[in-house]
């Protein structure tokens, strides 16, 4: 007679959840279109490789000025974002403030830019606000959570365990400062990517020239702009120091003062008319007829744009999330001393392995530096219009970010001397230990992936962004705004769901540089 023992391991809950995610992604794969529609993708890839190997600069002044613009928008945006985020973080314990932050960060930089462009044109103010507003929401969340996690002993030991601002500045801010500074400097890197991407909708940053060169097939020129972007991001560490920040700030505000010629007439029209649903314009709000036509208007939108956009965004987001996870797990050994160097070799061996680890991590950092929007754009040129380029772009960019962090995380694992090596080490010792952290990172990234999924619609993939972009192009701002709000609601809902999963699985909930 045999008795069966029920499985009761901590890993099983995590395994079940992963299985559900994988199955759902597989199902999504059947539904969506991932065909390669170009006749000869290899030829296009060959041309691009040739271009990448022979970068050429057709105009140095253009390159330098677009590089300077990219940096200026990024630094100005993060500066205002950090100031705004800090103020919001002071009230982060209030639900209303948290909801407000979630709302402003759930709308992507590009959508903010498209909105501001309608009233402030292609101006420096548009670029600044497009970055500053969503970044304020993100930074408020990070700062707010950092403040909450500060060891309360310092504050509790003071008379009346005060809760006013003086106490905050003496007992909370100093303790959170270092993490805030390092996270904010990471956001500068992200902002440079955002800023470059704003060029795709017309602002004078690197993305503007990248798009032109890529669309025209001038891959050598595109390569020059691309390398300039990588160089800017890769060299940040070397020259963006806190002490020099005032100099850079003065420089960027002098070079590119945030200004725009706003026509008040236009602004008033935009707010009071353009973004009001068409059937409501100039009608009394309470008449049954108006309500009827609004219902009809919404119904039509729902069937033709909102529903298909939502579904496609969710499908693409789900596949990209799972693909991101798989890539992250595959890439993490590149930044892990457990796999690349054990540091136990003498002399040259150690030097060499230290070097290979550095090289491995540089690959991850390089992949991370590539803006997903640009990756998707290049992917579309090679593979033709389908969801495949979007999946690849989102997976590579986000997988590299998580892989990099996970690799660093494995360094904290203390293995026994007799631990196995290679694949056995990976699956038996490392993967079970990091899996919780892996899911935590992935769920943090979920909201970001979904927001990016929506934005890739601007490139022609039928997610919400596609319909938003079309609405802007046909000057139907009421539809554009409604769709932006729908995408914001979707992002917020997913963020909440991810938060619920993290709590339920008792995953680490502290903010990381994601």
């Amino acid at each position: 007679m045999s008795t069966t023992h029920p499985t009761n391991t901590s890993a099983s809950a995590l395994r079940n959840l992963s299985l559900w995610f994988a199955v759902s992604a597989l199902l999504c794969l059947f539904i969506i279109d991932i065909d390669i529609s170009t006749t000869d993708p290899w030829a296009e890839l060959g041309l691009m490789t040739a271009g990448a190997l022979s970068p050429s600069v057709w105009s140095w002044p253009t390159l330098i000025s677009s590089l300077a613009n990219t940096f200026a928008f990024a630094l100005q945006g993060v500066t205002f974002g950090a100031i705004g985020g800090f103020c919001l973080a002071l009230g982060y314990r209030f639900t209303l403030v948290r909801a407000f932050c979630a709302f402003i960060r759930s709308i992507h930089e590009l959508f903010w830019a498209l909105l501001f462009m309608q009233v402030a044109g292609l101006s420096s103010l548009t670029g600044l606000l497009a970055i500053a507003i969503p970044y304020a929401g993100t930074l408020a969340k990070i700062y707010g959570e950092l403040f909450e996690e500060v060891d309360p002993a310092a504050a509790n030991n003071l008379p009346r365990s005060g809760r006013n601002l003086s106490y905050f500045f003496y007992t909370v801010l100093p303790l959170a400062w270092r993490s805030m500074a390092s996270y904010t400097s990471y956001r500068v890197e992200c902002a440079i990517r955002s800023s470059a991407i704003l060029g795709f909708v017309g602002l004078p940053t690197l993305g503007f020239h990248l798009e032109t060169a890529l669309s025209d097939g001038n891959y050598s020129e595109a390569a020059a702009f691309f390398y300039a972007l990588l160089l800017l991001i890769g060299s940040l560490r070397l020259w963006l120091h806190l002490r020099l920040l005032p100099v850079y700030l003065i420089a960027v505000f002098y070079y590119l003062p945030p200004q725009a010629t706003i026509s008040w007439q236009l602004l008033v029209r935009f707010v009071s008319e353009d973004i009001v649903p068409t059937p409501l314009r100039g009608q009394s709000l309470y008449s049954g007829e108006t309500l009827n036509s609004v219902g009809h208007w919404f119904n039509l939108l729902w069937q033709q744009q909102i529903w298909p956009g939502l579904i496609n965004t969710l499908l693409l987001g789900q596949i990209s999330l799972v693909f991101t996870g798989l890539l992250a797990l595959a890439l993490l050994p590149l930044n892990s001393s457990l796999f690349i160097s054990r540091g136990r070799f003498m002399g040259r061996g150690r030097l060499l392995s230290g070097w290979t680890r550095g090289a491995g991590d540089s690959i991850l950092i390089l992949l991370r530096s590539l803006p997903e929007y640009l990756l998707a754009f290049v992917g579309l040129l090679i593979l033709g219009p389908s969801m495949l380029p979007a999946i690849l772009a989102l997976g590579i960019h986000n997988g590299a970010i998580i892989g990099h962090l996970l690799g660093r995380y494995t360094d904290e694992i203390n293995l026994r001397v007799d631990a196995s090596r290679g694949a056995t080490l990976y699956f038996y010792e490392v993967l079970p230990r990091i899996y919780r952290q892996f899911l935590a990172f992935l769920f943090y990234r979920w909201e970001v992936i979904l927001r990016e999924t929506a934005i890739l619609g601007i490139l022609g993939i039928a997610t919400l962004g596609f319909y938003i972009d079309s609405a802007f192009e046909t000057f139907r701002f009421d539809v554009a705004l409604l769709l932006i709000l729908v995408s914001a609601a979707l992002n917020m809902a997913v963020d909440q769901f991810a938060r619920y999963l993290r709590r339920r699985l008792q995953l680490k909930t502290t903010p990381e540089s994601l």
Binding site: A154, N157, L158, P159, G162, S166, F169, P174, L175
Partner: protein, 227 residues
Amino acid sequence: MLSDRISHRPLFQFSDQTLHYQGRTVLDRLSLSIVAGERVALVGGSGVGKSTLLKALREQLPDQVAWCPQQPGLVPMLSTFHNIYMGALDNHSLLYNLANLIKPLPAARSAVEPIAKLLGLEQQLFSSTDKLSGGQQQRTSIGRALIQKRAIFLGDEPVANVDEYQGDALLQLICQRHQTVVLALHDIAQALSTCTRIIGLKDGAIVLDAPSNQLQASDLADLYGAS
């Protein structure tokens, strides 16, 4: 006489009260009163409820006590000066506190410096507290209590990390500056020489409560024995 009147009105009072720590009953049906002017030592083995009792005392008069907990809760990246000054945040406006955080202001310095001198911290006044020794950190914590200029001092092993000689001097200083003092102490000799009243805790109850001049060190040894 004025002092008589003060000394008969209890500052702290518990009648038949049960104190908990993290959901666990620590002191059961506690009855105790402490009047102004007393110098009380709480003695007993570890985990017997001295810290819980001190916390409960603090909650009774939060605005009148200077608090000196076992874990000093210093802000490690700020200077000794700022960590002491923190005790006086409520006496100044936000703007003043912020300016003082960026650059120590003269008035704040003249309030903190004498205290630092008394505590032997003048050399370390502008070093951050993560660079201080355990004893220096503890003295910083006492400094934070002293700057509050309150009548009552509640201290949880306030001199546990300094040597006996320094510890005696610090306890003298604390007693000079406060009318009423309640201390959790593990050093029996210090308890007897510093305080006027000894309260011994064991097994969730007060098992000894007597003036210190009627007690000898051997009377207290029982408190630490097996229960």
